[in-house]
Symmetry: C2
Subunit: 647 residues, 2 copies
């Protein structure tokens, strides 16, 4: 396999990784230590100190609280990889020492069971998240070892993984079980990559293969516990945890959406690494269902807050939505793995859609406030006064209230360099999935060291260029194919590709424009994808969007806000001829391009005060409306917001 | 006060009262006796037998289970008043004997406390419904005594009411409390009317005046119980039970909608009987809020299933709606009392709207299936697979599953004769609120016996006529004003009024056309309100209806169903010029008038299978759509339904 090094050099994205490094990571460290005044304590560090015997006390927080520390460590690792920071590394080393002290002699680590239910380990896989937490420990370990070269956390993680490997499986004295919250499956694949140990890959495959077998492990376990649980009542909900069927028989995304996409991520890894055709077919089937029938235009998934779950095909309410931040991040994880299975642009299209809209929109410009739920339509009064919409917040919350999404955003934004390119094992093809300014270094088929530098003006301008740099003294050039994604938002014919100023013919294959040549030092490639503002409509089966249009410009979905347009936004219609124009607004929300258009607004002024219903008059007055990128919504005074407008 | 006798003679409505008499009442008696195979037992009769010492066993059903028997008795009483039935009366007498046997020596009756929590009477007014059940006993007693002339149940009820009167009030040894579920307040007013005893009126007023005083009785009681409850958790939700403020300070309908409208009903009674200006002002304020800002076009109220409650102004989602049948019935109770406060047509308009749409729609044509929730938009798959919509049923349920709404429908439809006319105390004005074929007998100012016969072709034709009949030998005629409501759906100028074939000038006052004359035997009056099919739009603040129109013809709101139109109904638009036509369909759903119109339907055929979102094409094909009266929806194969159509 190619070892490629990717560095992001892009103002738009470096602002985010710097925000993570300077604000999110230090802030969360304070939160993990219960040092944020006025915030609910995390208990995470304290739990570890109690489990390590350094402090007396009760377990605090959720049963999966340990994972917050692990996810923070993983974010730290990516940040250190991008930007060394000895002080931060020192703090992280201390946290790792503490984790080691909380580890049992047999390798087990979970502060909930160590403190609160010693002796009951592995009796409640349905709810207790032990393997889930192990997975996050493993992900942190792999990332930290890679970034720092230090192996202590790897040793801790491997000892735990080895214990798990002895306990779970089809062997005589093994438990035929799997975790209520998928996560360890994808983590074990990373551990296999990092260590080369096939048993970790096999263990991951075992968990995936075992899941959904009959009779259900979760139901049997619940019976053994005397039908009790930590929080859930009644018999296990197998569909909610994607254990209602063997994974290869699953055809539609169901249940808790984060669990689902984490599982599909591991399935895609395993399908590739074990060359498993039926698993791959399941991935492709689930991908098609998820992204064609259960995904919001913003890349959000999960239509209901009850169970934070998928519902069913084309059921995508904009106002009672869930679209959890973590679920979109998991969708990006999954898309990344699908791209490794096969370089098809639809995977990268979804990755880009979720990244630029749902995920970026989840974080405020100050890096200290987050959405868990990412609605496409907000009426602040309804969020407050209709209990069906209490979960939809009109303003981002302080991120330390519940900490599942914020560290996920941190680890994604700090590791974005892993999402831009795929260089084939032989070094003869470089796929460019995302247009993010960056450099990628790789070794070509002939053994030439190549540095490809990308400059991108996205998301504001569709102008990308690449520069080829070879090792000093290389006079022979380097032969490789550059495969550039033609985004699905670019629908204006063939994009223009110029090499050293000369327009080239390109062939598009699986959504990538291929250009194969012998590249020389200093070669430049221009790739022009002029951005056009488009009105988008949804599939007629998506009832919530019927009679409406959304505005999209390049990868960015737009929305209207009450700050720019008169409420109720429901009264706003896009005119038959919308005359959409774009305007650079350098001082608005840190700088963006706003879209303006012709609209009509229902005239409520003449409504008789005493009549809620009247024979139709359809009085509509012309208005010019203003839309801003969705990812910037909710950064001004709270008000109504809508992605879909009547038309 | 005038004693008027009203008899309904109207095919449309007699079909319903006969359905209640022949089907609903006998069926429910079987249910109350746990004799319906396959249905959940009611336990109501069994609870009374146990409380009476006739049987051993545990209490069964809800804490308010007694009220089911009382509501059944009340419906029986109205039915006997319309149509004597010795066998039914005999059964009812037996039930009354049983109630008497369950009564304590001090007058107390409540089988829950007698069986399950003896000694804990009156310790949980927030939840335990003791006064609520007493209220339904009183309503049944008043109705039964009036219908049959038998006083046994009145004696039982009065003994209980007298006990309550000694226990509750501002006196030294009295409890300053009120019920968690308002009902006794309106019942005590009826008891006052039936007995002439002012203390019942005063007790009703006491409960209304005490409600919402500070500190809250409910909170104090909860503290005394050690913060425990029968089903609710946490501290009492005062707003949910309309006890957050003194009633005179309440300005908007909040909380559980049935509790709210039952309370407002009593408030309107008390405002009139005690000439209480501030209470009347509160009623008018709450009426305006409820019916102008929180009422569906079908007369449904209550926008959320969480708490079966009101939410806030203009929040009227069509698909996540509650619009409970009982709440619309309570709204009709309230409207009836507002009409007695002041004969303004808006009260009757709402009464008619709720009756012809939400209430009639709640019952199937066979009288054995009922909706509790009356949605304005149904997607059956969402009801099944999106937990936010599990409460919205696409088909009526067997009525004995939970029995709060069905007996309410039965008692309303059997007592509809009380809702048609108001004859002034002096006999000089007859207000006609509803156009339902009927006769009303009253004594005119000069002491003449008058029988006014109404014939009506509503809801299918807007043709009403009246015939005056005087006592034999009366040659002087009778002078009185006939005040005919001009319905708010009639908006085609002045209605035509002819007396003995001659068109009369009429003056309209408070929405009633007044015609004052000396009426002679055989005088006829024709009142023509030609029905026009109209497209209706909602107030622009009602976001859920923006960009949509509903169809209304006379009092009937229409809807489209999948049985007549292609799903998804969300793809259907009313054409710019709708060309609405009406067609009699004598064999459809028992006979009705259907409305047809020109529509456009989004063409989903060319959608690329792999794209949920596409640049807009707005391909719409012409179609002729069919709408049926809303009250008839859901009587064919289950499918989508929608009241509001895009336009």
């Amino acid at each position: 396999m190619q070892t490629t090094q990717v560095h992001i050099r892009d103002k738009f994205w470096e602002d985010y990784s710097e925000l993570v490094r300077r604000t999110v990571i230090p802030y969360q460290w304070e939160a993990l230590n219960d040092r944020i005044a006025g915030a609910e304590p995390s208990y995470a560090i304290r739990n570890f100190r109690i489990a390590a015997g350094l402090e007396q006390g009760e377990f605090g927080g959720w049963v999966f609280q340990d994972s917050d520390l692990y996810k923070w460590l993983e974010a730290v690792a990516y940040s250190l990889r991008n930007q060394p920071d000895p002080e931060l590394e020192n703090i992280a080393d201390g946290a790792i020492d503490l984790i080691g002290q909380a580890q049992h002699d047999n390798g087990y680590i979970n502060t909930y069971f160590t403190i609160k239910e010693p002796g009951n380990e592995w009796t409640n896989l349905y709810e207790a998240h032990e393997l889930y937490c192990a997975g996050h420990l493993i992900e942190a370990a792999v990332a930290y070892a890679e970034a720092t070269g230090k192996h202590k956390i790897m040793d801790i993680a491997c000892r735990f993984a080895d214990l798990i490997d002895t306990l779970f499986g089809t062997g005589e004295n093994q438990k035929r079980a799997y975790c209520g919250h998928q996560e360890i499956e994808l983590a074990l694949v990373k551990l296999y990559h990092a260590t080369g140990e096939e048993r970790y890959l096999n263990l991951s495959r075992y968990f995936i293969d075992e899941r959904g077998s009959s009779p259900s492990y979760f139901t049997q376990e619940w019976e053994r516990r005397g039908r009790t649980g930590i929080w859930s009542q009644g018999s296990p909900n197998l569909e909610m945890y994607q254990s209602h069927l063997p994974v290869r028989e699953q055809t539609a995304a169901v249940g808790h959406s984060v669990r689902a996409v984490y599982m599909y991520t591991a399935m895609a890894d395993l399908a590739r690494l074990t060359n498993d055709a039926s698993l791959r077919a399941a991935c492709e089937r689930l991908w098609a269902n998820t992204t064609r029938k259960q995904m919001y235009i913003t890349g959000g998934v999960g239509a209901t807050h009850l169970g934070e779950a998928f519902t069913f095909d084309y059921d995508l309410p904009n106002d009672a939505v869930y679209a959890e931040t973590c679920a979109s991040i998991g969708l990006i994880f999954w898309a990344r793995r699908m791209l490794r299975l096969e370089a098809k642009s639809e995977y990268a299209d979804v990755m880009e859609r979720a990244l630029y809209n749902n995920v970026l929109g989840s974080m405020s410009k100050d890096g200290k406030h987050f959405f868990y739920v990412n609605p496409l339509e907000v009426w602040p009064e309804a969020s407050k006064r209709n209990p069906d919409k209490h979960h939809v917040k009109p303003i981002r919350q302080k991120w330390f209230g519940c900490s599942c999404c914020p560290p996920n955003v941190a680890r994604l934004l700090s590791s974005l360099n892993d999402y831009i390119y795929d260089v084939s094992a032989e070094g003869n093809t470089v796929h460019v999935h995302l247009y993010i300014g960056s450099t990628v270094q790789f070794t070509s088929l002939e053994g030439q060291e190549v540095t490809l530098s990308q400059r991108s003006e996205l998301p504001w301008n569709g102008k990308v260029d690449f520069n080829v740099s070879l090792a000093p003294g290389n006079a022979n050039g380097a032969a490789f194919t550059l495969a550039l994604r033609v985004p699905n938002w670019f629908q204006s014919g063939q994009p223009v590709l110029r090499v050293n100023g000369v327009v080239q013919e390109v062939t598009v294959n699986n959504g990538y424009a291929h250009i194969n040549r012998l590249w020389s030092e200093g070669d430049t490639l221009e790739w022009l994808l002029p951005l056009e503002t488009k009105l988008i409509e949804a599939h007629p089966q998506i009832r919530a969007d019927a009679g409406k249009a959304a505005i999209q410009r390049g990868p960015l979905v737009y929305c209207v806000e009450e700050a720019d347009n008169r409420a109720p936004l429901a009264s706003l219609y896009i005119a038959e001829t919308a005359h959409l124009t774009e305007r650079e607004a350098p001082h608005l929300l840190g700088g963006c391009v706003v879209v303006e258009g012709d609209g009509l607004v229902a005239d409520g002024s003449a409504w008789p005060e005493d009549q809620p219903y009247q024979p139709i008059r359809k009085t509509r007055n012309p208005v010019r409306f203003t839309a801003i990128p969705y990812y910037l919504w909710g950064n001004r005074e709270p008000g109504e917001m809508s992605v879909w407008l009547r038309n």
